[in-house]
């Protein structure tokens, strides 16, 4: 039961984006379409799961004074792997995510989970935590990406879903739309929490 809880807490209750407001840069930057959102979410999930496994395995070997640089090196290695794999097999998504793939290194969600969870728990729990948090991050990206793509282009996953007479709100896919959609969603989460 508690293992299941480790897995599902990242979806809603401790959602890294909406509740903890971590990893805002990639969240806003890559959500102009759902495809990009899924690509980014899964890349971050991969890094999160593997860095959690690795850090949980070596947690007793690292002196606590240099643990943060050590974690960053572990994370950066997995980010490099993701970067190269995506470059080889998913060149289109790799191109549109561009700068933000190497920047997964400084995504506070990953370092945050390494420090707060993987360095204190065993491997199995760390895997579940990483997977849950990663999927929660992906979920948040897809929600924001979905809203922006539907409003801004009248499409979802590249398929027209609104009638042709719909005039796309271009602003939703531009930079200001990202901030405004995010702000309104955070407001809604706060409202829900209070009830």
């Amino acid at each position: 039961m508690t293992l299941l809880k480790e897995f599902t807490k990242g979806f809603i209750k401790e959602n890294p984006v909406f509740v903890m407001a971590l990893g805002l840069c990639p969240t806003l930057a890559v959500t102009s379409s759902v495809v990009n959102a899924i690509g980014m979410g899964l890349a971050a999930t991969f890094v999160l799961v593997f860095s959690n496994i690795f850090i949980s395995l070596i947690k007793n070997l690292i002196p606590s004074k240099i643990r943060i640089p050590a974690y960053i090196v572990v994370i950066a290695s997995f980010v490099t792997i993701v970067d190269m794999v995506m470059h080889a097999y998913l060149p289109d998504i790799h191109k549109s995510l561009g700068l933000f793939i190497p920047l997964i290194v400084v995504n506070c969600i990953i370092l945050g989970r390494a420090e707060a969870f993987a360095s204190k728990n065993n491997v199995l729990r760390s895997i579940l935590d990483g997977l849950g948090m990663g999927l929660g991050f992906t979920l948040a990206l897809v929600v924001i990406g979905g809203i922006r793509e539907v409003l801004g282009a009248g499409q979802f996953l590249g398929i027209n879903i609104l009638p042709d007479s719909y005039q796309p709100m271009l602003i939703a896919i531009l930079a200001p739309g990202a901030f405004i959609v995010m702000g309104l969603l955070m407001g809604l989460m706060n409202l829900k929490k209070k009830k």
Partner: protein, 195 residues
């Protein structure tokens, strides 16, 4: 003359048209986190300008004279993040020794800069855009100025927001996002600039 023109063009591009925070979504965490008070926003801004300029210098040198000759460009992400982390540490020690007063006022923000994705972002962008040494340094400087500019503007707005009457669930983060959205909308106007 052409050289001066190029530099001016670059300054306008980096500070206004492609502003790191509002248009590229880099460095959002400190932008939202440290913009509550004007004083701390100025301190953070100055530290970021300094570190971004230094990071651009050193990462360019490391890329050109170490990674490229050895054909290990794929280690870019790891090499850059380590460079930035040690640079921040070095800057912290130097400032502590030479200017204790400045160190005290920056104190908390200095270590935070390592995980500011704007710093790693500018380092990678310099390499991707194939700037030469001088332009890489200048790009770091201008990007830092752009970051500081919006950080200070945001701090000014938020000091007033404290006293504004808002729905409870929109207080704090959500309204900051909406304000950032409106600022991004204003900055979008600069993209009409033609040279």
């Amino acid at each position: 003359m052409e050289f001066v023109g190029k530099i001016l063009f670059m300054a306008v591009m980096a500070i206004f048209v492609q502003n790191f925070v509002l248009m590229r979504f880099l460095g959002l965490c400190p932008y939202i986190g440290v913009s509550k008070k004007l004083d701390s926003a100025i301190g953070m801004g100055m530290a970021v300008i300094f570190v971004m300029t230094m990071a651009s210098t050193f990462t360019w040198l490391i890329h050109t004279y170490l990674l490229v000759p050895l054909h290990i460009e794929f280690l870019q992400t790891i090499a850059f993040i380590l460079t930035i982390a040690s640079l921040v540490q070095l800057v912290e020690m130097v400032i502590q020794k030479t200017a204790p007063a400045l160190y005290k006022s920056l104190g908390v923000f200095l270590p935070l800069i390592t995980t500011n994705c704007a710093v790693l972002g500018v380092a990678i962008l310099n390499i991707q855009s194939e700037y030469n040494f001088i332009f890489a340094i200048l790009n770091g400087l201008f990007a830092g100025i752009g970051f500081t500019l919006v950080l200070i503007l945001m701090a000014g707005i938020r000091e007033r927001l404290e006293r504004a009457e808002l729905p409870v669930s929109m207080k704090g983060m959500p309204i900051s996002m909406i304000v950032a959205g409106s600022m991004a909308l204003a900055f979008l106007g600069f993209s009409g600039l033609k040279f």
